[in-house]
Amino acid sequence: MGQHWQEVFLACGVLSPMISFWMLVFFGPKMGKPAAGWFAVVFGMGIPLALASAVTCHWWFIADDALRASLTANAVRFTWAHLGNTAITIGVKLDSLTVAMYFMVTFVAFWIFFFSIGYMEGHSDEVDGKCKYWRFFAYLSLFGFSMLGLVASSSLLFLFIFWELVGLCSYLLIGFYFDKQWPQYAQMKAFITNRVGDFGFLIGLMLVFLYLGTLDLDGAAAAFAHQYATHTGIFASHFTLFGWSLATIMGVGLFCGAMGKSSQFPLHVWLPDAMAGPTPVSALIHAATMVAAGVYLVARVFRLMTPDALMFVALIGTITLTAMGLVAIVQTDIKKCLAYSTLSQLGYMIFGMGCGAWIAALFHLITHAFFKAMLFLCSGQVIEGCHHEQDMRKMGGLAKKMPVTCWAFFVGVLAISGAGIPGLAIGSGEHATKLGIGGFFSKDEILAVGYARSYQWDDVSKFESHHGEEGGEAHDEARRPAEPSTAGAMLVSDPMNERAEGQAADAGGHGAGIASIFAKTPPLPKWMFLLAIFTAYVTPFYMMRMWWITFMGKPRDEHVHHHAHETWKMYVPLVVLSVGTLVASYYFFRPMIAMASRDATAAPAVMAINGELHTPAIAAAHHWLLIGAGFAYLIGFAIAIAIYRGGLDLADGIRRLPLMKQLHILLDKKYFIDDLYHFVWIKGCLLLAWCVKMIDTYVVDMVSNIMAKVVMMGASVTGNILDASGVDGVVNGVAKTSMDMSDVLRSPQTGRIRNYVMFAAGVAAVVLLIIVFRPDGAANPAAVAFGP
């Protein structure tokens, strides 16, 4: 066993942007203006794209299912560290999802890097006299490293590390123009809001580590499945919070991370402000790739989700997709309008995940990445061409000045609106060419699954329970139900699955478990599905509004219009991405994800469902949904054109209508959520700080002042009494005694020789007298001497 070249390629593709980052950090200033950018294009994304292309081509054209499965199963894991008895492993997760995501990220990012060179040409690139051109590309390279690492990680821990790195890059790039005030606030807002979500992610990670005993994606899923089947571990816990079991809390915690990164409802506030960054950054990070990381995370931990957790996911997705879609209607800043449409589309993906539409949500992620990156690049082109004007109301009539941008944008509008001709296909069978682009497949597929989950779920679950109890191949059947009911037809999977029957057979033993899942998974509330359908009408409306008032009609600002132009460096990526949007996604990415879904969605607790709406046979069974969702774009377009055909006057008129006025204020203020957060969190923080300051001033300081007083009193007692009269008294007493003694002893020292002689003689005389006349006299030497 050793690494396969695919793993090595993907790992090198992760490392190449990092090397590019360090090279630019150290040598960027020397490379100079265009060279640093081209260096990043080649080393930061060109090499990863080449490596990813090689792996993807092999994966798609050469490898068969058996080879792919063996590559996935035999991927090498290195042990990074030991935590207690648990090894933390690191490795490349080599499966269809990673390959598809990796290719998408490198492809989109490459063209955005390319676009950036043209974009940065005309931008001020000096801060305090220091060139920051190279820094832009260094950050972009670091982002490439983080995002590719995130996609390729096999372990939740490393996924989390790269996740945070991506957040850091987002922070750095939003605040790229840090000499202005707004980007500074925006970058802080993004970072702090993401931390809130990451807090939940960390809790989820800890629960995974504690109960499932590993952070490896596959290992955790296997442990979860085992614990689910045997009712041990996390399922044995009786802990509940808000009626959620511990397993649900784990899933919701992991989803909190996705909420932050993918900017879902309570934490969505940072994304519109993230538009403070340069436009290529908005395209790359805040529309196409990074914000999709949240959806990717949910896809990866799908196997650790419980029905309750997924219901929460669906609820958050529904709120986001509807509320943010409506806000997009009233935006006038071209980038903010796109930002809100991104929020809404991310809501669709999250909603899809919550429904169990694993394939559809990821498919939508990839189609969205293509067309949203392109739309943002178009907006960058427009902003650049119009001399940094972002207000759409001042544009208009740009189609003649910027034809390529205009029509690329139009392709994006069609894609996000889900344009196509439902129910019609050229050719037949497996190779039928369906007429539609982008969201026509991906968004409608999410809606199809939502329809199945909300309207037909009772039928489906009865049907599945019945089949499940028969055992045997029930698992495979459950995932690929056959014709009997219309619901079953909804769930027909793609042809790729049929070839995999052999592989799925080993999962057959879980049949009974699957049946119980269907019994446990509640139907989706109908209002969620209806809101998703409603937003499918809103999306084409605001997109067409945007396109129309930017490119069509009469020029509204002579200065802006006069200036408008486009350059090849900027529109080449637009053309490439629009071609990608038109052709690549359905025929390439969807089958890739469908391949991935086989092992990645073998969820023990929930069911991934597959509902490809636009396959003719299935479409035939769903006239209502087909017409409801399939033609939504026409209605949206028609309303938008009707309103904005004659400029902005009609829209202004509508805005002044009684009920519309209030609605407009509500939407324009974004439901006052920003103001609420400002009031609750920022004002709350300041209030808390004020309270703490008061406590500090009047309580803590008072206590310390009292303490100081007490100490001073104690000091005065010891100083004045003990020290002054005690210690000093002893010292002074000794000194005084010495002085007195010395006075006494000094007095004989007269300095007169005669006195000394007399004194000496006197003493000698006294000694002599004592010796001579001492009382016992016996041993008197004088007496002896004088005696005889």
Partner: protein, 103 residues
Amino acid sequence: MTIGLTHYLIVAAVLFCSGLFTMMTKRNAIGILIGVELVLNSAGVNLVAFDRYLGPGKLDGQITTLFVIVLAAAEAAIAVGICINLYKNMATVDVDKASRLRG
């Protein structure tokens, strides 16, 4: 009347007392020096007398006395030197004036 030890001792005592008295009464430094010489010589007389009467046949006393004489000479030389210096400094040899080292 034979001349015995006691007579020598009396002479020595008279000498000693004279020297002591001289030391105590004279203000002249040279006078004091003379007193000192008297005291030393009284000790010499004593030593010679004790040697003669208490330890006959030995010359300890005599030799010690010779040392005392040499010592006295050396002492006189130093003392005269002090006197000269005293005179140089104070233009007098009155020891009562030279009381700068009093306590």
